[in-house]
Subunit: 268 residues, 2 copies
């Protein structure tokens, strides 16, 4: 790992991983970031483990070939279903979002009861459940398939989104989990509705955002002693579908305009 200006590859099925990139830029601005969004094949959240692995390994190869010295799998589904395959397929360190989120969630829970909201595929993998159980936490996972399309529709502070979140979270905070005191956001789209979710969860609940937790782990691995102090990030974006849509939707997730996106074709 270079001590000077690292090149970090960031991978997601689409735009959600840009919330992780945004946090990394904040903590480690003095770095080059190559972001790869596999937008032609999104969403991964409803696909099988085998398919997600095949797609994710292809993207990881692309980023490694383009100079990444570290890979951040900024996609909960790919981290949950394909992290071992990706690690086996590349020669650089790989950081997923599940372990950092589970670490932070476990630390934050006094009652040792945590709820994780995520996509259907992430929940089916039980990656968060296993990671939290290893840390002595009783965990419950809740799939919230409508939250990603609601965020992508731009309804991030909309009464419908709040009602949908209320339905999902009432189901989650039940059956022995009424006193859960931490909600882990196990999908990189969800940080955009964190203020809305904060209104919906019981007052005693802390929300853990795996984008923030992952960025902190990356900063630590890069041995950045004073996060966010200086430097201007180099940003390159690659997408497998419409670059116009990537720029338009992506800016919402990144929190800043996206100047240029390169269209990439990957063979399966």
């Amino acid at each position: 790992m270079t001590q000077t200006r690292p090149c970090i590859g960031v991978f997601d099925s689409g735009f959600g991983g840009l919330t992780v990139l945004r946090e990394m830029i904040r903590l480690v601005p003095d770095a080059d970031y190559h972001y790869f969004g596999d937008t032609a094949r999104l969403p991964y959240g409803s696909k099988s483990a085998e398919t997600v692995s095949r797609y994710a390994v292809g993207a990881a190869h692309f980023l490694e070939q383009h100079g990444a010295e570290m890979l951040v799998i900024a996609c909960n589904t790919a981290s949950a279903l394909a992290l071992d395959s990706i690690r086996a397929g590349v020669h650089v360190p790989v950081v997923g979002v599940v372990e950092p989120g589970a670490d932070r969630g476990a630390d934050a829970s006094r009652d040792k009861k945590v709820i994780v909201v995520a996509t259907e595929a992430t929940v089916s993998s039980h990656a968060y459940l296993k990671a939290l159980q290893c840390r002595g936490i009783e965990a419950k996972e809740k799939a919230c398939p409508l939250l990603v399309p609601l965020v992508e529709e731009g309804w991030i502070d909309h009464k419908i989104t709040e009602e949908v979140a209320r339905i999902y979270l009432e189901e989650a905070f039940s059956d022995g989990f009424q006193r859960a005191d931490v909600l882990v956001l196990g999908c990189t789209h969800y940080p955009l509705i964190k203020p809305l979710l904060q209104r919906v969860v019981p007052q005693h609940v802390a929300i853990v955002d795996s984008a923030e937790s992952t960025a902190a782990v990356v900063a630590q691995k890069l041995r950045v002693s004073e996060p966010g102090k200086e430097g201007k990030p180099g940003l390159q974006f690659f997408a497998t579908d419409s670059v116009e849509k990537f720029q338009r939707l992506g800016a919402r997730f990144l929190g800043q305009p996206i100047e240029k996106v390169q269209l990439v074709k990957l063979s399966e």
Copy 2:
């Protein structure tokens, strides 16, 4: 075209096309149907024309190679964006869903004002707008990106779905289209919420379902004189992702259990 027992290939990005298949089985039961759902790469509705064309042509080849004598593109997005490419790529007749839906919509409108609801990609293509304008109809297209995930969540008679539909349709039936008297369902997921939509639209509005219209065109092309009279359909299903999920979700769209699904890998 065989006069006895035809083999019809039906293609969709996922499950929605099963509403078209259901109607075809009802009208033409004495046929073999090969249904191909490109579930590994769904949804097409948010992807670019080029990507949709590449995927759809690959699937059309697969169905032709497996004996289809006619192809039904039971996917609005693929019909809107890729019908010419598919026709150029295969040697059998190809029926899309846009033209039959536009025909039926034009016939049903006395005021010559029609609203079409569809996915983002179908709307961006303006395929329905053009098809309806050619038939002397003033048309307005409205993208409703949340309706597909709501149907897939199974919320087909849910107050949230009704509220979302109300928001979309209030926007649609405005700006000179208050008196539109036909709503064309330009997405094969929407027939599942037809009763709900009927409650939301103004009373004078007729709903045209492109699944029904397309099945009628297929029956006509096959010169079936007495639709639905006899025969037992042969059904084969192919999917590019989880066969378990295809069986589970697909049954809702087809209206009957799906016994067996074959997993298929397509190269890009």
